[in-house]
């Protein structure tokens, strides 16, 4: 597998150097999908579930390369240095690529450097408390936060990630001031929540469901209620205008020609349309979607308008 990855990388580099003309039949060799996180995380797992679906849809392998570091920034900063041959792709996530360049200067890239060809998944964020917490609902939590500003701790992954953005948006919507405690990854933040080391946490719907023995979700930050937990209210219906989560997308290096970008977009869209893939993903709490290349621009612009002010707010508070 490793040798194959290497060979594929070398071959991709060689071909990319020669000519990046769209091949008649795309893909005509294994496609590299760089995952900017370590193995075992939600993004990595989603990509690994996609592997058989991609093979079924195209007859070619999807080769995963993990390139973790700085919450994804390490990989995204290197995206445009990769060959634009259509066989080199990268997982990217919003709002992360909108937040990082503002919050973590220098992040090594700008949001506009990332060429997205397909938005393929959405994972809603949830507000959760430990199982034994005295906070039964969002109202309790907000009341406590208002009674003692700065006293309620709320965990999340990293600084300038989606969890941090959700915390900032929620504080603004509720008029509260909570103490954000950043953790290095989702698992350690969740462990701190389960052990009641913190009062509450922003985390993912998938975690909220798998960890339900030890934590209680108070609300979900999606537009509508979610099928996996229909009793869970959305923040919107509770009167807090907060929608957040992670939107996964396939990105290509900027040098990838237009025609090839469309082909990559359609190919991945075909893979994520696979029934088995969709069933598995919805079991985890993910919403499968397929915004293809022509529709991506408008969506990304909307997300930038939503999240850039939040990023500037986080930056100003730092």
């Amino acid at each position: 597998m490793r040798t194959r990855t290497l060979c594929a990388a070398l071959a991709a580099a060689a071909i990319g150097a020669l000519a990046a003309a769209p091949a008649a039949a795309y893909p005509d060799k294994p496609v590299i999908f760089v995952v900017p996180y370590g193995p075992g995380g939600p993004s990595d797992l989603g990509a690994r579930v996609m592997q058989p679906a991609f093979k079924k849809a195209t007859g070619r392998d999807l080769v995963i390369q993990n390139k973790p570091g700085a919450g994804g920034a390490t990989a995204w900063a290197q995206l445009n240095a990769l060959p634009g041959d259509g066989h080199t792709t990268m997982l990217t996530a919003m709002p992360h690529i909108i937040l990082q360049p503002v919050v973590n200067q220098p992040a090594g890239y700008e949001t506009e450097d990332i060429t997205i060809v397909l938005v393929y998944g959405y994972l809603p964020e949830v507000l959760a408390v430990p199982k034994a917490s005295k906070f039964q609902n969002v109202k309790d939590l907000v009341a406590a936060a208002k009674a003692s500003p700065g006293r309620i701790t709320i965990a999340g992954t990293g600084v300038g990630g989606a969890n941090h953005a959700a915390q900032a948006m929620f504080d603004r919507a509720a008029g509260t001031r909570t103490a954000y405690v950043p953790f290095k990854d989702t698992a350690s933040g969740n462990a701190a929540l389960m052990g009641a080391q913190v009062d509450s946490a922003w985390t993912w719907l998938s975690q909220g469901i798998t960890l339900k023995d030890n934590i209680r979700m108070l609300a979900v930050a999606s537009e509508e209620r979610v099928a996996l937990a229909p009793e869970l209210p959305t923040l919107k219906e509770l009167g807090f205008n907060v929608t957040s989560g992670a939107w996964w997308a396939v990105a290509v290096p900027r040098s990838t020609p237009e025609a090839l970008r469309r082909q990559v977009s359609q190919t991945f869209a075909k893979a994520v349309a696979d029934q088995e893939y969709r069933a598995k993903m919805s079991e985890f709490g993910y919403v499968t979607m397929a915004l293809t290349y022509p529709e991506v621009g408008g969506f990304v612009k909307k997300k930038i308008d939503e999240f850039r002010p939040v990023a500037q707010e986080i930056r100003a508070k730092k």
């Binding site: 597998m1 993990n66 390490t74 969740n190 389960m194 052990g195 023995d213």
Partner: protein
């Protein structure tokens, strides 16, 4: 009676074959520097999609336990931990190999790994749900103190020249600061180089710091890489078994520490083996032999890291929180196979979980013959290959290993730069091992400290966070004992002799 059925289900020819293939693949991948257990398990994960959940788990568990042991080969033979769990194995394993006890060291590592693996698996089998609660009692401040406890090892690793050891430890801590800080979000010491934003990766850095100086010295010195007498000796099994019988305390301590630290989600096998090593040295009546080829140091490290396999699976199964990075991939495998984690797993899915645990026992036991046999060939190959071939071969693997972990050529550059740096400062008597400790433990200490300060400020007392929690106080007591006991004991002993 049901348990017998599960044992039988684990011992079907198909599952036995999977356990065997998994252990062999794990040992080979683990022995290659740069291929961590996490990487090995992740790469083989897609091959399990079509298997039954229990077979998939047995296979991945076998790969994990095999790679944790396999990493000892390169640690002992070329001073390069094959996986981060084997860092402490280099401290005494490599000196043993240098003086001609390489085959003994490898056999000892195998026996210690099997003992540790069995203890971890027994804990998983018997007391998983209550032990998992321990993981939750560990908050940021406990991780901070645990990392400080690990850092006190710098003192023991640099006996004789504490100043130089402390300098090395600080260099390692400074290296750990590079990149985006988790708690503050500040980007530090990147000098406008995008490649540094993610920080210095542990695996290539460890390869560079520990292995490159050895390679340079191999070229610079005329004598053979490892001393050995005439023809390659056998396993030296009887000798190793006798050593183990005389050191059951070391093995027990190592295995229990490994199981305990394996349960802690933010710690992992590398810290487990370091703490086990440090505690074994502290308990020893002749601590000065540690670092010069003391078999007990090797046994402590190797029993602890394999015990983290079973220990780390405890929070993975009971809480749904991975105990070690490799467990994150195994947790993913569970999700993909539609298995929900939680305490109910041990009752509602008893067949699955207990069959897997028996499978893990089998894989751990298989490690004995497989490990001994493969270890003999690994040792034979390293001592019989002429240095003119050995050096380029090992150099090749250091480069491939550094590259493969993230497919990033910057990691190779970092490995080479740190390696040359370690060799240069090594000439001044500044050791490399404390640098590795600083790099490994710095982020854990920093994150725990930052989080504890935020939580302490919010709850009204930072002091109560750091000094008002029972587990934290217990770790602080251990730190004090570790630092003060050796000089006090020495003074006491000196008073007795004229």
């Amino acid at each position: 009676m049901e348990l017998l059925g599960y044992a039988a289900a684990a011992a079907t020819p198909y599952n036995l074959l999977l356990a065997l293939v998994g252990v062999v693949a794990g040992v080979v991948l683990g022995a290659l520097p740069g291929i961590s257990s996490t990487f090995a398990v992740a790469v083989l994960l897609p091959t399990t999609f079509t298997m039954e959940p229990v077979s998939a788990l047995i296979f991945l568990g076998a790969v994990y336990t095999g790679s944790t042991y396999g990493g000892a080969y390169s640690a002992i033979l070329v001073n390069t931990p094959g996986t981060p769990q084997n860092i402490a194995t280099t401290f005494d394993g490599y000196p043993m190999a240098r003086r001609g006890d390489g085959s003994l060291a490898i056999t000892l590592a195998c026996l210690a790994s099997v003992v540790g693996g069995l203890v971890g698996a027994i804990a998983l089998f018997a007391v998983a749900p209550p032990l998992a609660r321990v993981a939750l009692a560990f908050g940021p401040v406990e991780y901070f103190w645990l990392a400080v406890l690990g850092l006190t090892m710098i003192a023991s690793l640099s006996e004789g020249n504490l100043v130089k050891g402390a300098i090395a430890g600080c260099l390692g801590l400074a290296l750990s600061l590079v990149g985006v800080s988790v708690v503050s979000g500040d980007t530090r010491f990147v000098f406008d180089t995008p490649a540094l934003v993610g920080g210095i990766n542990l695996v290539p850095a460890v390869i560079g710091l520990l292995c490159l100086p050895v390679l340079i010295d191999m070229v610079a010195a005329p004598q053979a890489h490892l001393r050995h007498e005439g023809k390659v000796q056998g396993y030296r099994l009887a000798e190793a078994a006798a050593l183990c019988r005389g050191a059951w305390g070391t093995l027990t301590r190592g295995s229990l520490i490994g199981t305990g630290i394996g349960i802690l989600p933010a710690a992992g096998g590398s810290i487990a083996s370091l703490v086990a090593y440090s505690e074994t040295r502290r308990a020893s009546r002749h601590p000065q032999t540690f670092g010069t080829g003391e078999p007990r140091g090797l046994m402590a490290s190797e029993s602890a890291n394999n015990a983290t396999v079973g220990g780390g699976l405890i929070p993975t199964f009971v809480l749904g929180i991975p105990g070690t990075p490799a467990d994150a991939v195994i947790l993913g495998a569970l999700l993909i196979h539609g298995v929900r984690t939680g305490p109910a797993l041990f009752t509602e899915r008893a067949a699955l979980i207990y069959t897997f645990i028996f499978g893990l026992f089998i894989a751990t036991l298989l490690m004995l013959p497989v490990g001994l046999l493969m270890g003999r060939y690994a040792y034979g190959a390293i001592v019989s290959i002429p240095k003119t071939f050995l050096v380029p071969l090992v150099a090749f693997f250091t480069i491939i290993g550094s590259y493969a972990i993230h497919n990033d050529v910057n990691d190779v550059v970092a490995m080479l730069a740190l390696g040359v740096f370690a060799w240069l400062v090594g000439r001044l008597g500044i050791p490399a091992a404390p640098m590795v400790l600083g790099l490994l433990l710095g982020p854990i200490a920093e994150q725990g400290y930052g989080q504890a300060v935020i939580i302490g400020t919010a709850t009204g007392s930072v002091w109560a966070q750091f000094f008002g929690r029972p587990i934290a106080l217990a770790i602080i007591a251990l730190i004090v004992i570790t630092l003060l006991a050796p000089p006090l004991v020495r003074r006491y002993l000196q008073r007795g002799t004229p």
